[in-house]
């Protein structure tokens, strides 16, 4: 095995982060190769030093009065209340949107029905005469047929 390959994997080997096969290959190589062993020891010593110092620091952080400060910053409501409230608001918003859509649809239908009824009433009472057809093209023939209902006339356009 080439030293370059071994050295490339030494940083992960030092932290035991390589798979078993690679680790075994490197262990065997390190037992034979002095320069790679030195490199490994340097990486290992640096890592151990940094870890040792940082662990000392991590565990000497005084706990101060974190809770004393924190207790005034905590939300007054129960844990997760804001999340539940958000979820509730989102659900309510969806329901409201659905209701609004249904009501709008119903309003449109009712309005058009009312409009139709008013028009029919006006025509029957003779207050309004609907425009049946208005064609200016001389090639178009307009044929009208009377029906039993005086308010209804059938109109055919033939070109």
């Amino acid at each position: 095995m080439k030293c370059s390959f071994i050295r490339k994997n030494l940083p992960l080997y030092a932290g035991n982060d390589l798979n078993f096969v690679y680790a075994r290959v490197i262990t065997i190589h390190l037992a034979r190769c002095k320069s790679c062993r030195k490199e490994y020891e340097a990486i290992q010593r640096t890592r151990d030093w940094a870890v040792h110092e940082l662990q000392k620091e991590t565990y000497t952080v005084s706990d101060s009065d974190l809770w004393q400060d924190l207790v005034y910053r905590l939300p007054r409501e129960a844990p997760g209340y804001s999340v539940k409230r958000k979820r509730f608001r989102a659900e309510t918003r969806k329901k409201l949107a659905a209701c609004l859509a249904v009501f709008t649809g119903l309003a449109v239908v009712i309005f058009s029905l009312l409009q139709h009824a008013t028009d029919s009433q006006n025509i029957k009472s003779g207050r309004a005469v609907p425009v049946i057809a208005s064609i200016e093209d001389p090639d178009v023939t307009v044929m009208t047929f009377a029906t039993d209902d005086p308010s209804v006339t059938i109109v055919w356009f033939v070109k």
């Binding site: 932290g15 340097a42 010593r45 640096t46 940094a50 974190l66 924190l70 910053r73 129960a78 844990p79």
Partner: protein, 185 residues
């Protein structure tokens, strides 16, 4: 025991939550110090972390590891803090007061000096490299757990670890060669 505490806290028991905070505050602050680089800022990050924990506690699945979840929130809060501060690098060393130590003053001074050196070296790493190194090597999480906390694949964590360890070794060799005396010629 811890599960009972968490369940009580989920139901709104403030005493149980206080116990959880007291139990984990040192480790959370320690992790935040190493990521954000300043003790006073780390306390802010720790507070923010516990507020988020309080807020999202009911959504936590008690069958999962609380410690990993807490660390994930701490890392996210630290990243958010660094982004908010518009610097994705650790703060200058002057802002890091030495840790409180008991014992001899000379020892304390030497310890502070060593830690200053370590922070100087760590500041040259990128934030993800530093975080991966701290979580894996200092706090002893596995690669998979580190990946879960950092929200990235295990391969990426290994890559960060590889570069972090390699860079530390190179920096120690160039800046503090006396430290490696007897090993490297």
């Amino acid at each position: 025991m811890e599960n009972e505490l968490i369940k009580s806290a989920q139901k709104g028991d403030i005493k149980a939550f206080e116990t959880l905070v007291r139990q984990y505050q040192q480790r959370v602050t320690g992790l935040a110090v190493t990521i954000v680089g300043s003790r006073s800022h780390a306390l802010d990050v720790a507070q923010e972390t516990f507020i988020r924990v309080y807020r999202f506690l009911p959504s936590f699945n008690t069958r999962k590891n609380f410690f990993t979840w807490l660390y994930k929130i701490t890392v996210n809060c630290s990243y958010d803090f660094l982004k908010r501060e518009k610097k994705y690098r650790a703060l200058p060393l002057e802002t890091i007061p030495p840790a409180q130590h008991t014992g001899d003053q000379t020892d304390s001074f030497l310890m502070a000096e060593m830690q200053e050196k370590i922070h100087e070296l760590l500041d040259t790493l990128s934030v993800p490299q530093k975080t991966a190194f701290i979580l894996r090597d200092v706090h002893g999480f596995s690669c998979r757990e580190t990946a879960h906390i950092m929200d990235c694949p295990s391969g990426t964590v290994r890559s960060h670890l590889h570069f972090a360890r390699k860079r530390l070794r190179t920096l120690v060799k160039s800046q503090y060669p006396e430290f490696l005396e007897g090993i490297v010629s």
